[in-house]
Each structure stands twice: as structure tokens, then as C-alpha cells.
């Protein structure tokens, strides 16, 4: 386990290094930002002067080394639009809203999917399966953006039950969570249903029946843990994706998450914030991946972390 973790940490560092390098280079390739910061009426000389003050006139190599040496000192740079805030603070400030939305929607989607798939297999009802799979396909055929707008038109505009946007307590969570959770549910219910289906003919299931276990107990205690393995990998990647900011959903609901912050920073060419954001997103991906691997080894005795 220890050598495994050491190796994974080194891999993670390499991943992060590559991510920040790409972010740095792509940002610089999109042009010097001073012209966007200065409002109307700035002369070429004034634009050039501000670019110089912000360090964008230095050779690319020098800028890159400055950035890296800053990173090593724990300095992620300062938003040059708001020198009072460090870039990493801006991202840290937005993380809670994204985490709240992502974890809530993910958990609700996953739990409901487990319940639904288990019900299908305990009851053996084809009607139930058809119902879940059919409505699931319907939901899957609608993009998140459109589904969110439909929810708003129905529950905010027509019925007036819920706020249509913003982050102001539990009611404002309902619609964005519903948008993401339904999409997550569809995904897992199909995976679980298929995985449980594969288990029914397995030897250990026959053995369990032979030992006199009831059908419901077999599904819950024998089949479900095994069926969970393929879901775990997908769920891990999904959760990482959600934690990296659900840009579309955040836009639809004006949700103050990391996605909105990154979109704003990109369009304002606020490089330090973009780089800090991508660093955090990469970190989340790496961390979730390691967590999934460890979970896998705990659930499946055949998997050894080496």
C-alpha cells in the first residue's frame, strides 16, 4: 500500500505540472490582456505600458519560470483585475457552492439509482424496468441546459414555487440539483441493472439460493456489492467532473460555483485565476481517482494495489 501511494502521489504531481503548463501556455497564446482591462480610449502606448507592468511583455520563458517559482513558494499569483484577492482565494471562495451542488446531486442520483435497480431485480418486474429505462432515455435525450430551463419555466415561472436562480438557501438548491441528479440517476440505473442482470447466473448466486437465502436478501447482500464495481469507476469520474464545476448548469441557474468563476476568468483573460482554477480541478480529479482505486481494492478482494 505505501509504495503504491508514493507512486500515485508522484503521478499526481506530474499530472498537475502538465495541467498548469498547458493552462499557462494556452492562456499566453490567447494574447496580452491589458487591452481588455483598460476601457475605451486607451492608447497603444498605455496598453503596452500596462502589459509591461503586469509582466506580460517579459519573454515567455521568464514568465513561465516566475510562475513556477511562485507555485513552489505556494504563491498562485494574484487576480490582476482585483489585486486585493489572490487567485487561489477566488477559487476557494467558489468551491463550497460547487461542492454543495455536486455532492448533493451526485448522492441523490446514485442512491435513487441503487434503490430503483434493486427494486427491479427484487420484484423481477418488467414493467418497472421499462418504466425506469424509458423515462431515463427520455431524460437522457434532453440536454442539461434545456432540461434546466424547462424546470425553471415550470416550477419558478408558472407555479412560482422555487427561485429560478442564485444561491440563497435550500429552495435555490432544488432545481439545479434536480437537473444534475436526474442525469446521474439515468446513468447509474442502467449500469446497475445490466450488472445485476449479469450476476443472476453466477455460481455464487446459485450457491446462496441453495443455502436457502431469500431472493431479496441475495440481491441485496450478494449481487449488489459485486454489481457496484463497474458503477464505481464511472461514478468516480463523474463526481470529479461535477466537482470541477458544472459549467452549463451553473450558467442556467446563475450558480456561484467554480464553473462560473472560470468562464468569467477566461473571458476576462485573468490568467492567474484560470491557472489556479485548473490546478484545483486537476487536483480534484487526481484525488477522486486515487479514492476510487482504494475503494475498489476494499470492495473487490481480487484487486491488489501494487
Amino acid at each position: 500500500m505505501a509504495p503504491y501511494l508514493v507512486r500515485r502521489v508522484l503521478q499526481a504531481l506530474a499530472t498537475l505540472f502538465i495541467a498548469v503548463t498547458i493552462a499557462f501556455l494556452l492562456g499566453r497564446a490567447s494574447g496580452k490582456p491589458a487591452a481588455l482591462i483598460l476601457t475605451e480610449g486607451a492608447t497603444t502606448a498605455q496598453i503596452d505600458e500596462l502589459n509591461g507592468k503586469l509582466g506580460f511583455n517579459d519573454p515567455l520563458g521568464v514568465q513561465y519560470l516566475n510562475y513556477l517559482s511562485g507555485l513552489l513558494r505556494g504563491d498562485f499569483g494574484v487576480s490582476y483585475r482585483n489585486p486585493g484577492q489572490s487567485a487561489i482565494d477566488i477559487i476557494a471562495e467558489r468551491l463550497p457552492a460547487t461542492i454543495t451542488l455536486a455532492i448533493t446531486a451526485f448522492a441523490i442520483g446514485l442512491v435513487l439509482a441503487v434503490v430503483a435497480a434493486t427494486l427491479i431485480h427484487i420484484t423481477g418486474s418488467h414493467t418497472l424496468r421499462a418504466l425506469f429505462v424509458w423515462t431515463g432515455s427520455l431524460r437522457q435525450s434532453v440536454p442539461d441546459f434545456f432540461f434546466g430551463v424547462v424546470l425553471v419555466l415550470l416550477f419558478s415561472v408558472a407555479l412560482g414555487w422555487l427561485p429560478s436562480l442564485g444561491y440563497s438557501g435550500t429552495p435555490s438548491l432544488v432545481l439545479p440539483v434536480a437537473t444534475i441528479a436526474t442525469a446521474q440517476f439515468v446513468l447509474y440505473v442502467r449500469l446497475l441493472d445490466a450488472a445485476l442482470g449479469e450476476q443472476t447466473t453466477a455460481d455464487y448466486v446459485r450457491t446462496a439460493y441453495a443455502r436457502g437465502k431469500g431472493h431479496g436478501m441475495v440481491v441485496l447482500t450478494e449481487m449488489l456489492p459485486n454489481a457496484f464495481l463497474p458503477v464505481l469507476t464511472v461514478a468516480g469520474l463523474n463526481l470529479a467532473g461535477l466537482l470541477g464545476g458544472t459549467i452549463i448548469v451553473e450558467q442556467v441557474f446563475a450558480w456561484p460555483g467554480i464553473g462560473t468563476a472560470l468562464i468569467g476568468a477566461v473571458s476576462q483573460r485573468d490568467f492567474a485565476v484560470v491557472q489556479a482554477g485548473l490546478l484545483v480541478v486537476s487536483l480534484i480529479f487526481v484525488a477522486v481517482n486515487v479514492a476510487v482505486d482504494i475503494l475498489y481494492s476494499l470492495i473487490d478482494p481480487r484487486v491488489k494495489l501494487s
Binding site: S30, G31, K32, P33, A35, L36, I37, L38, T39, E40, G41, A42, T43, T44, Q46, I47, L50, K53, L54, S79, Y80, R81, N82, P83, G84, I90, E93, R94, A97, F146, V149, V152, L153, L154, S156, V157, A158, L159, G160, P163, S164, L165, G166, Y167, S168, Q251, V252, F253, A254, P256, G257, T260, A261, I263, G264, S267, Q268, R269, D270
Partner: protein
């Protein structure tokens, strides 16, 4: 909150919304009726949530000059003058002013009854400090706006004198955009000032919830007309659809919305539509040194090949007025009755033939995302018009900030679709940027440089005449093609009493509620 109609009736709006989402432009919709904004004796009090399309990254009046931040600046701070919602310049912290004949020495007499939100008195030294702080800052984006200041000094306890490096007739508008800060407090807070700003404005700061909203409350010791609403929240909502549904659902009280959504909002019945005149002019910029565009006849053809009327009617829901000058009505420099080029496809074709144009490709750059909500459709329509006149147009869409950088860095390859809205409400900056040496001036015509200098030194009475000459010269040589003066469409709660300002910036002290 909006009045509630039976749910079934309100579903009508949903159907309309789908139609629009599917981009089925209905066209031929007449302009929307303005909601009643006559000022009655509205009760003072209540609150409002006002949407803004963008959140300013920084809301520090010393450091950051930005269109979105002015919404807060005009609430929390005062300038020496005040740019009113109709664009006129009114007294602000200064009750009067004088300028010398050459417009390069200005003296402002400061009111003596002004308090900052922390209870301290405004002193002339605070004004001197504000300007000197901006001038001394290496990274303040306001420095550009007042770069012409040579010295600023306190003459006595009530007078501040600016000596400019050159005549600058637009100085009165410019000082209206600089919010005055208290020296002691700003020095103490430094870069953290924006987290708890103190000003003299009609509203004082309550909270800035990053990414969500900015809250202010009425300042009871304000020297001028006190605000009518007690609490105001600026809510940051970047997605246009979310702004529409936000007002329809009552989550927001006012928001600027895409023109295409006006029929939807009217059909929903939950909110009113308010039309606001705008200081924005949409124009086609031209790199007059690029290929076929060097030829003045090709450029003249472009000016009359665009069917402005059809585009305004069919793509902008009627929200626009054709124009032949690059500044809008209400902006200093606007010339009354200045003609807009007549659409004439045949004459345009003749001009193209006469020019010897041989089918070279002409690029048309526009913002496919992040610009105006209809920029893509408008660019395609213009390209179609120009193709009809015999030109070979290649559309190049990009994100707005990439286009802005290309414009600012003088790197346009042909034509580009852009909008100009001078926040100082003065045409000076438009002329300098488009026609007199700025990044959008590709012709570098010495005659225009002369006219620009004449404009800067002209007294108030003579400026219009100089502007007329500049616009005529531009119409003759077609260095750019003004298309139309935009009108803004707003969705607003039916209980909100509000007349949108011409520059699109909220003046919250003037907003009230009928159900306050």
C-alpha cells in the same frame, strides 16, 4: 413580486419560450409598449433586486474602470459632476465650475454639506487624493481616463483646480465617472478597500457576495435627493435566458434582456417590458488598408448595401434606429437630423463593378459568443447583403474578448461588427479611437487628425459644427459604417417605477416601487 395569474394562463408563455429557444424568429413584431414610468407619489421604501450581466472583478473606484462596476460606483460614490440618466452633465460634489478659454484649467467649487458613509466630512483634500492616487498607480485602469491631468490642487477649502496637459472639452463628463474616496479610510484599507468601501453616494455598502450579488442600503445623511428604495441588490446573472425567467418568476425585479425575448415576456404576462434608449451604436469597422477595402468605392458600396431596416425589423424586434454617425442621440457630438445612408442594392452593385473588384475574399469578424445576443445573426445578414452587392465575404466568428483584443491591437483583417457606447457620454473618445489615431483607425487621415484637435479645443457652442464636419468626412470616405443606434430591452417587475438610463447603468436612487 409579480402579480399571480392562474397557472394555466401562464403556460402560454412557456410555449412561446420554446418557440424562441428554437430560434424561430417571428419577425415583424412591433416595438414593445413601454410600461408606465410616470413618476407618481410612490411610497418611499421597499427593496429591489436588479440583474447585471457581468460581475465586475474589482469594485474599487481608484483601481478599476469598468462598465459593470459603474452600477455600484454611481450608488456608493459621487463624482464632482454627475452624468444623469439622460446623459446630461449635472452638478455632483461640485456645485459649480469654471474653465479658462482654452479649456485646460478647470476650477470646481465643492459643496460643504457632504458626509462620507462613516460620518466623516468630505474635504477638498479627499478629492485631490483620489485623483493623485489614480495618477500615481501603475495598474489603475482609471489612469487612462484622466491621463491628461497635469496637476490637481486644493486652492482653498472649497475649491479644487485641475490643470490639464492639453485642452479637453469633455473634462466635465470625465470627472463624473471618477468616484471620490475618503483619504484616511482608503489609505488604511489599501487593496482591501473594495471589500468594505466608503463613499458619499446615496447608498452605502452592505455586502459583496462574490459570484452572487452586491447589496447596498439607503444612506440617510445623503447631501442630495435621497434614494427611494431602502435596500437594493445587484444580482449577477450572465445567462440571458436566466435573466428572462428570473424576472418572470419574481426572483429578479429588472434585467436587460435580448430583443428576441420581448414577445415571450409580453406573452407570459408576469412582467413588463421597458424600452430604454441607449448610447450604443452598432457599426461595421473597416481595415481600410486591407486588400479590396483600400478602394473607396468598395467601401461606399458597403455603406449602402446593408439593409438596415430589414435587419432592425426582423432580427432586433424593432429595437434600433438607423444612423449615419457613430455616436448615439444623447451623447455629446450627436448631430440632429444627420442622414443615414439609404439602402440601394443596385447602386452598391454598380459601385462594386466600377471599383474593378475582382472577387477577392473580404473577411467579416464578429463575436459569435459573449457579444450582443444577436451579433451572429446580424453578421450573417450583413454578409448576405454584401454578397448580394457582388462582394465575396468570409465570416469569422470568435469569442467577444478575442475580437476585442484584435480590435485593440490593430489586427483586423477586413471588416468587423462591433458596438460603441462611450460611458463618459462624450463623442471625443469615439472620434479618437475610430478616426483619429486610435486602434480602430486604419486610415490615419491627417485631415481627421486636424478636425479632432479642433474638436478638443472647441467651446461648447462650436463643437457640434466640428462634429458635423467629422461625420460628413467619414460618410464621404467610409472609414467605418455606422449602422444603427441600439435600443435596450428590459424586463421589469410591474411594480417597479424605473426609467432605464441611456448608458444602461442603473441609477438606483431614482428607482421606486408602487408597492413599496
Amino acid at each position: 413580486m409579480s402579480t399571480h395569474k392562474p397557472a394555466l394562463l401562464r403556460f402560454a408563455g412557456i410555449g412561446a419560450a420554446f418557440a424562441v429557444s428554437a430560434a424561430l424568429l417571428t419577425g415583424c413584431m412591433g416595438p414593445a409598449a413601454s410600461s408606465d414610468s410616470s413618476s407618481g407619489g410612490a411610497p418611499a421604501g421597499g427593496s429591489a433586486v436588479l440583474a447585471m450581466p457581468a460581475e465586475p472583478a474589482n469594485i474599487d473606484p481608484i483601481m478599476m474602470r469598468s462598465l459593470s462596476a459603474w452600477n455600484m460606483y454611481y450608488a456608493v460614490f459621487d463624482g464632482l459632476t454627475r452624468i444623469a440618466s439622460d446623459g446630461s452633465v449635472q452638478p455632483g460634489l461640485a456645485e459649480s465650475w469654471t474653465a479658462n478659454d482654452t479649456q485646460d484649467v478647470w476650477e470646481f467649487t465643492i459643496r460643504d454639506d457632504v458626509k462620507f458613509h462613516d460620518g466623516t466630512d468630505l474635504k477638498v483634500s479627499d478629492i485631490v487624493y483620489t485623483y493623485e492616487k489614480i495618477l500615481a498607480s501603475e495598474t489603475s485602469t482609471n489612469r487612462v481616463a484622466i491621463a491628461m491631468v497635469d496637476t490637481v490642487e486644493a486652492i482653498d477649502e472649497h475649491t479644487v483646480r485641475f490643470t490639464l496637459k492639453n485642452p479637453f472639452s469633455a473634462w466635465l463628463s470625465q470627472v463624473g465617472t471618477i468616484g471620490i474616496v475618503p483619504e484616511v479610510d482608503y489609505e488604511a484599507k489599501g487593496t482591501k478597500f473594495a471589500d468594505a468601501p466608503i463613499g458619499t453616494g446615496p447608498y452605502s455598502f452592505v455586502a459583496w457576495n462574490h459570484g452572487v450579488e452586491y447589496q447596498v442600503k439607503r444612506f440617510e445623511d445623503y447631501w442630495g435627493d435621497a434614494g427611494k428604495l431602502e435596500n437594493v441588490t445587484f444580482s449577477f446573472v450572465s445567462a440571458p435566458d436566466a435573466r428572462v425567467t428570473g424576472v418572470e418568476s419574481g426572483t429578479l425585479d429588472a434585467a436587460i434582456v435580448p430583443e428576441s425575448q420581448v414577445p415571450v415576456i409580453e406573452a407570459s404576462g408576469n412582467a413588463g417590458v421597458i424600452e430604454g434608449t441607449s448610447n450604443k451604436v452598432t457599426l461595421l469597422g473597416i481595415n481600410t488598408t486591407a486588400g479590396a477595402l483600400k478602394n473607396a468605392d468598395v467601401r461606399r458600396a458597403i455603406a449602402i448595401a446593408v439593409d438596415r431596416e430589414q435587419i432592425i425589423d426582423q432580427l432586433l424586434e424593432g429595437f434600433g434606429d438607423e444612423t449615419g454617425q457613430p455616436v448615439a442621440e444623447g451623447v455629446t457630438g450627436y448631430v440632429d437630423d444627420y442622414p443615414s445612408p439609404e439602402f440601394d442594392k443596385d447602386a452598391a452593385e454598380e459601385l462594386v463593378e466600377k471599383s474593378g473588384y475582382a472577387g477577392e475574399e473580404i473577411t467579416l469578424q464578429y463575436a459569435s459568443t459573449g457579444g450582443g445576443p444577436t451579433d451572429s445573426e446580424v453578421a450573417q445578414a450583413i454578409a448576405g447583403n454584401l454578397e448580394d452587392a457582388g462582394l465575396n465575404i468570409k465570416l469569422i466568428g470568435s469569442e467577444q474578448s478575442s475580437l476585442s483584443l484584435s480590435i485593440a491591437n490593430h489586427q483586423i483583417t477586413g471588416l468587423y461588427l462591433n458596438h460603441w457606447s462611450p460611458s463618459s457620454m462624450d463623442g471625443d473618445v469615439v472620434v479618437s479611437q475610430l478616426l483619429a489615431g486610435g486602434p480602430e483607425d486604419y486610415s490615419r487621415d491627417p485631415r481627421l487628425a486636424e478636425l479632432y484637435l479642433a474638436q478638443q479645443a472647441a467651446g461648447e457652442d462650436d463643437r457640434t459644427q466640428v462634429y458635423r464636419e467629422i461625420w460628413e468626412y467619414n460618410t464621404e470616405n467610409v472609414y467605418n459604417v455606422p449602422l444603427w443606434q441600439a435600443e435596450n430591452a428590459y424586463a421589469a417587475s410591474k411594480t417597479l417605477k424605473w426609467t432605464p438610463a441611456i448608458d444602461g447603468i442603473y441609477r438606483i436612487a431614482e428607482i421606486s416601487r408602487t408597492d413599496g
